[in-house]
């Protein structure tokens, strides 16, 4: 529970910021989330006429009070979903979001299994049956002779 506390605290602190960003988006943040359709970069990296046209529209819609979702929906209606820098959180777009997570989980499972097997392989081999007394005496004699 103590470990969860910082996570919950950060989430609570960030929630109003995210809500403000949704209700009152800035041109700068949307420029980083929208693609220029002719230069395959985000708008903030492009000064092409097509990018400038979209920047103008975004600025107009922000001034009109549109939310970030409304502005993005309008852009998608005109240009298709490829206009967004990040894939949508629905349909086939979900693959792009969840495939890396699945990959990380699969890699963690594979690593865990490998570590478990490695640890098992290093466990001490159980001792065999005790030597009979004659053989033990002979080994002791040989060792004494070798050391002497």
């Amino acid at each position: 529970m103590k470990r969860l506390f910082p996570i919950v605290l950060v989430a609570l602190l960030l929630a109003p910021v995210a809500r403000a960003s949704e209700r009152h988006p800035t041109l700068a943040e949307l420029e980083g989330e929208v693609m220029c359709p002719v230069c395959e970069t985000t708008l903030d990296l492009s000064n092409s006429p097509a990018a400038q046209q979209i920047k103008r529209l975004i600025a107009t819609r922000i001034a009109a009070g549109d939310t970030k979702t409304q502005i993005k929906d309008r852009l998608v209606a005109e240009y298709g979903s490829a206009i967004l820098a990040a894939p949508p959180h629905k349909g086939f777009g979900l693959v792009a979001w969840w495939l890396p997570v699945a990959g990380i989980v699969a890699a963690a499972v594979a690593l865990g299994l490998g570590a478990w097997r490695w640890a098992r392989a290093r466990e001490p081999v159980p001792a065999g049956p005790p030597l009979d007394s004659a053989l033990e005496r002979r080994v002791d004699d040989e060792l004494r002779r070798f050391e002497g």
Binding site: V38, P49, Q52, Q53, E78, G80
Partner: protein, 179 residues
């Protein structure tokens, strides 16, 4: 049991890698097709790729295939942010006065806002109908950026040529009007 599970996991991993490689090879080999412009440059005359898009003027949709066998077509890919498109579209508008009854002039407004596109048409006096290809998927099939791109399609539906130099316009117009 452990051995069979390991074999199954290995088989799955190998299958996954082979599948991804196959997908990559297929994608590289096919891509988006070579496009009409490239086919023309290679000396071929492909059939015009069909499209069915909304008209900019809001009067429903336009299906390119509906003109096949009926009328030759001049297809103009443009956008309101494209400065050279103004000159080319005005030339087509002028040519339409001479050929408009024999040839269909169709604009394809691509990667553009439909509202800006309508204003642009009004501002520059472009009256031939246009469709809206916001995502640019139709443009990609015809050769992609840059625009303007102007293609000439014979009555049969075969693409005769693309406008490269100014003189191509009267030459191709005569050719398709006679097709």
């Amino acid at each position: 049991m452990a051995r069979s599970a390991r074999l199954a996991a290995q088989g799955l991993a190998i299958g996954l890698v082979v599948g991804l490689l196959t997908l990559l090879v297929w994608r590289v080999a096919n891509g988006n097709g070579k496009g009409v412009a490239q086919a023309l440059a290679d000396g071929e005359h492909p059939t015009a790729p069909a499209f069915d898009l909304s008209r900019l003027d809001g009067r429903g949709r336009f299906d390119l295939a509906s003109l096949r066998g009926k009328k030759p077509i001049v297809l103009d890919f443009w956008a309101s942010w494209c400065v050279p498109c103004i000159h080319e579209s005005r030339r087509l508008e002028a040519a339409r006065k001479e050929y408009g009854n024999r040839v269909a002039f169709i604009g394809v407004d691509t990667k553009d806002f439909s509202g800006d596109a309508r204003e642009w048409q009004k501002k520059h006096g472009i009256t031939y109908p246009s469709v809206h290809d916001g995502s640019g998927s139709v443009l990609t099939k015809w050769g992609g950026l840059p625009i303007p791109r102007i293609f000439f399609v014979a009555r049969s539906g075969k693409v005769v040529g693309e406008l490269i130099v100014e003189e191509d316009l009267p030459r191709y117009l005569r050719e398709i009007a006679a097709s």
